[in-house]
């Protein structure tokens, strides 16, 4: 069964049902669900590219999400300029660490899920609603996580009712936790968290928030081989999404270059970043 099978909108399309695209897909074309083909596979560990460090933090007026650009497969660098931070909808962004292929599929479905709800209901899903939908998708991936294909996202969004930015973290079983101030996931997160603890302040302006995120990624790359550092030669900068009352916006390359160069310059002669 696939999208173009038969003509017309068969009864499945017209049956009154909820406004979840994932649920619709599960009845109409379950083979299109993320990782559906893998569920029938045998045992063993699959080797596939993994994405690494994501940091999220709040600043005055919103939240931001930044990710390095490296994907690794064992000790091999699979990709130097991978995107791991995505806009989920107008008012939220999601960053992923873990199995890259799985993660991208889950994010793609999550994006359609949110847009589908918006169109059917004529209203936006609440930020908690979005966080819970993502939790359900991660829970659905548990069997694959056991085989080494785990996906760990961070969701940041602007809560239009509470009028503030919020950060949600997850575990592989689909547990969803709201984080205060800042959070990091991925192999370099231990180091990034240390940096965030020392550098984060309440009510930082956006510019400073971006510098702190980039510096946290720098620290992660410094001690974790799977996290890509600032690539000055190739001019590859971390991906940064900023979510405010005005929605999601990606920081452009010129500004990222400026901020990254400043962080690198600040660390010259002081590689440990001692203050």
């Amino acid at each position: 069964m696939s999208a173009d099978q038969g003509h017309g909108l068969s009864l499945e399309f017209r049956t009154p049902r909820g406004s979840s695209f994932t649920e619709f897909l599960a009845t109409r074309a379950p083979e299109l669900l993320p990782g559906a083909g893998l569920r029938a596979g045998g045992e063993g560990v699959v080797e596939a590219p993994h994405g690494t460090t994501i940091v999220a933090l709040s600043f005055a007026g919103g939240v931001l999400l930044a990710g390095d650009r490296r994907a690794t497969m064992g000790t091999f660098i699979a990709n130097r300029d991978m995107e791991k931070v995505f806009a989920a909808d107008d008012y939220s962004a999601v960053g992923i660490a873990g199995s890259a292929g799985m993660a991208i599929e889950i994010i793609k479905l999550f994006q359609v899920e949110l847009e589908h709800y918006e169109k059917i209901e004529g209203t936006l899903l609440s930020l908690e609603g979005k966080a819970n939908r993502l939790a359900a998708m991660i829970r659905g991936n548990l069997a694959n996580a056991m085989r080494g294909l785990s996906v760990l996202p961070v969701l940041v969004g602007y809560d239009l009712e509470d009028r503030r930015g919020r950060i949600f973290s997850y575990d592989v079983t689909g547990g969803c936790y709201e984080e205060q101030r800042h959070h990091s996931v991925g192999s370099g997160s231990l180091f990034a968290r240390g940096a965030l603890k020392k550098l984060w302040h309440d009510d930082m302006p956006e510019e400073q928030g971006l510098s702190v995120a980039i510096e946290a990624l720098f620290d992660a790359a410094d001690d974790d081989s799977a996290t890509g550092g600032p690539d000055l030669g190739r001019r590859i900068w971390p991906t940064c999404a900023v979510v405010t009352e005005a929605g999601v916006r990606f920081v452009d390359d010129e500004r990222l270059e400026e901020l990254t160069q400043a962080v690198v310059a600040g660390r010259r002669g002081n590689p440990g970043g001692a203050r």
């Binding site: 897909l25 479905l109 004529g122 239009l160 009712e161």
Partner: protein, 299 residues
């Protein structure tokens, strides 16, 4: 046991068609019309929440007339179809033609096989890169489909409306003019008793061809008032949205004050319009309105 009475197929189909037509004629009309920078949907609909017009996909809109539960059912099915296709292939592979074909099959099957035909007329419109490439499909209760050039009127007593539109519609009209024409023909459907349709009685939305991805926007508030007001200089919707969700109500002139490049209003008339600041009270203060979310910014 009595023998079922024989009814000829001709008679059966005629009865079904009469039944469906009667149901549709009881409702109010909808006009879909192409204009210089997009496609406009204008429906007479006093409800703010039960929509006759909706987004189907990035560049595709839907309008329904007739029985609400039936066209709502078709609308939802269309969104599922479009999202599923876009998800499994690519966003570019979702087309109005594909949707119109799916709808025509469905309506045709329902008309002949189900115990009662749908009492609906629907339109599926896709905005192109120019007015020549706009596509508007009109589908009726029996599954017949026609591709219309420029505009379509359906539901209610649509014949006089279509006739009036044929005289007054022209290519390359600005949005404000197309909206005024649409509202006038909707109001004048009954020749003896022409009515006055205010912005509150209307549901208006556009597919704006200048937008990069999701082009559907609902119009309301001061922006719609200004567009319908002949004295106002506002001729088109701004290409950028208000920062928060809600009805698309940023005035073109307001935006012009901030960014002179982002408007279609002529420069000389802009300064003279004083309604802009006075009327923009909606959405920016007080209670949040998170409905009608088709107000994303461009990234």
């Amino acid at each position: 046991m009595t023998m079922p009475m024989y009814v000829s197929p001709e008679q059966l189909m005629k009865d079904r068609a009469d039944f469906a037509r009667k149901g549709i004629a009881r409702g109010r009309s909808v006009v879909v019309a192409s204009y210089a920078t997009g496609i406009a949907f204008v429906a007479e609909n006093p409800s703010r929440t039960l929509h006759k017009v909706s987004e189907l996909y990035d560049r595709i809109g839907f309008a329904g007339a007739g029985k609400y539960n039936e066209f709502e059912n078709l609308r939802v099915a269309g969104i599922r179809y479009a999202d599923m296709r876009g998800y499994s292939y690519d966003r570019r592979d979702v087309t109005a033609r594909g949707l119109a074909n799916a709808y025509t099959q469905t309506l045709g099957t329902i008309f002949t096989q189900e115990s009662k035909p749908y009492e609906v007329e629907i339109a599926v419109a896709q905005v192109g890169s120019s007015q020549q490439t706009d596509q508007i499909y009109r589908l009726t209760y029996d599954g017949s489909v026609t591709e219309e050039r420029g505009f379509v009127a359906m539901g209610g007593v649509s014949e006089p409306i279509a006739t009036a539109l044929r005289e007054r519609w022209a290519p390359d009209l600005p949005l404000a003019e197309v909206l005024r024409v649409a509202v006038e023909v909707l109001a004048a459907r009954d020749e003896e008793d022409p009515r006055d349709l205010a912005a509150d009685d209307l549901e208006v939305a556009v597919l704006d061809r200048r937008r990069p991805r999701r082009t559907f926007r609902r119009l309301g508030g001061p922006l719609l008032d200004a567009l319908l007001d002949e004295a106002s200089a506002t001729q088109d919707v701004p290409t950028q949205d208000d920062p928060r969700p809600g009805l698309h109500d940023t005035l073109t002139q307001d935006l012009a004050a901030v960014d002179p490049d982002a408007t279609d209003a002529p420069a000389d008339t802009r300064a003279g319009d004083t309604t802009a600041d006075d009327t923009k009270a909606d959405g920016s203060d007080g209670e949040q309105d998170t409905t009608n979310p088709q107000t994303q910014r461009e990234d």
